[in-house]
Amino acid sequence: MTQFPIDKIRNDFPILNEKIRNKPLVYLDNAASSQKPNVVIDCISHVYRHDYANVHRGVHTLSVRSTDKFEGAREKIKDFINAESGKEIIFTKGTTESINLVAQSYGKANIKAGDEILISAMEHHSNIVPWQMLSEQTGAILKVAPINLRGELILDEFIKLIGDKTRLISIAHMSNALGTINPVKQIIAAAHHKNIPVLLDGAQAIPHMPVDVLNLDCDFYAFSGHKLYGPSGIGVLYGKQALLESMPPYQGGGDMIRKVTFEETEYNTLPYKFEAGTPSIADAIALGAAIDYLNEIGMGAVAVYEAELLDYATEQAKKIKGLRIIGEAAEKGAILSFVLDKIHPHDIGTMLDSLGIAVRAGHHCAMPVMDFFEVPATARASFAIYNTKQEIDILMNGIESLIEVFG
């Protein structure tokens, strides 16, 4: 195997040269959002300088060029997650909108009073609230499968909760608060046994591992561009074509229609049926550039490199007295959530920031997870392709020093 090209990668991300409070930036808040490589930054600028016009609207050259690039990005995404057709790739603002789309379109059409929607206890708020809203609108019941103290889904309990009334399962492929990678293939197999569709919240999984929706056999897969080294404001909903075709539109407007009279409207075909209004054109194209960039490195290589980083960080963290790791699943992505004895995560966050280290301190939009572990919040270091073991050493030194200061 060739060596992971870490030096080249670090050079590709200009923000890594920033000084934060006079120290070199150590950016470990990648689960919130990752930084952008030159190819993505340049792509946005190139689109606006050379290729920009509205898409699907005009016969003029620029509009055709813009549309080609935009649709080209859709094809790249299709290949990246191994979907069967570009029709299955719907551009959204991000994971949150993707999940809301399924809740309001598929959910409203197929879920009624007394039906059950099944999620897990480790979900991000954006995979909880849309279902609560749907439940309120329809009278459906939201069921929550439990996790254990290592932060793993209790698979037996999950399977038991898949019942005759279950109409939809929506679960994180990887947890943002704990790093847990869920046994989604087993869940999907069990769900399909009862003809229940499964949505995977892939916001965290997609930057860290190869994702193959055909192989997973998931019915929906949601993710955001901004965690995948792409721009914010753009994301994806993958859905199996037959399912998407059976679903009513989510929003009404331009682009999603074929013919409008004041009496009736004929909806456009996939994927445009779900893309009302002018999309985030340059951002979609730049997400395609991010995917090109990642393909060059290889998602398999990314997974291997990040596993090494996580192992190292975990090993080092365990040496620190008074540090407790929150989330010790056997299957885990590159996220290290932790608390320190008698030191609040917000103090940890501020102190590390003064050393140039960016970590997240808070509830990570997963308040139920915090309640489960009986902590008000955690500090979270989350790793990306440009992080190094040296940076982990800087983090650990910082933690040890702040423990000293707090005494």
């Binding site: 030191i343 050393l355 509830h363």
Partner: protein, 150 residues
């Protein structure tokens, strides 16, 4: 190592964080109000014992970061013996000091609380310092429901 943070984390703050003052329940409290900062999970319950419009005793329970713990600890010390109007005036001064609207801080007016002036340079932490005071404000206005910084 943390030289830059000396203005924010002064020794007094560490001291109050380690040994919070008035960290207890007042059994026969006249006012009891919960304060919550959903952003960071800081939670506190403030107890007041009133004598007419004078705060005779103040205490708290709960958990939070060093800034919020020190702030509520210092506050319970300083408001004891003050009238409601005096406490409200202090809240106003404290608020101005921490949000930096008034460049001239009247150090005399805030006394010991001046150690918290450093938060004005850390917008993300201002709410940690002001939670205690918003809770006091609610208690003085006798609002029964919990207050939240959001």
């Amino acid at each position: 190592m943390f030289d830059d943070l000396r203005d924010l984390y002064q020794e007094v703050i560490f001291d109050h964080n380690r040994n919070p003052r008035n960290f207890r329940i007042i059994e026969n409290a006249d006012r009891k109000v919960d304060g919550f900062n959903p952003l960071c999970g800081d939670r506190l319950t403030l107890y007041l014992k009133m004598n007419g419009d004078v705060i005779e005793d103040a205490s708290f329970q709960g958990s939070g970061c060093a800034i919020s713990t020190a702030s509520v600890s210092l506050m319970t010390e300083i408001v004891k013996g003050k009238t409601e109007a005096e406490a409200e005036a202090l809240f106003k001064t404290f608020h101005e000091m921490t949000t930096g609207k008034d460049e001239q801080i009247n150090l005399e007016a805030v006394g010991k609380l001046a150690v918290l002036a450093g938060v004005r340079e850390y917008p993300a932490r201002v709410k940690c310092a002001t939670l205690a005071w918003h809770t006091l404000d609610a208690a003085l206005k006798n609002e029964k429901q919990a207050v939240s910084t959001e």
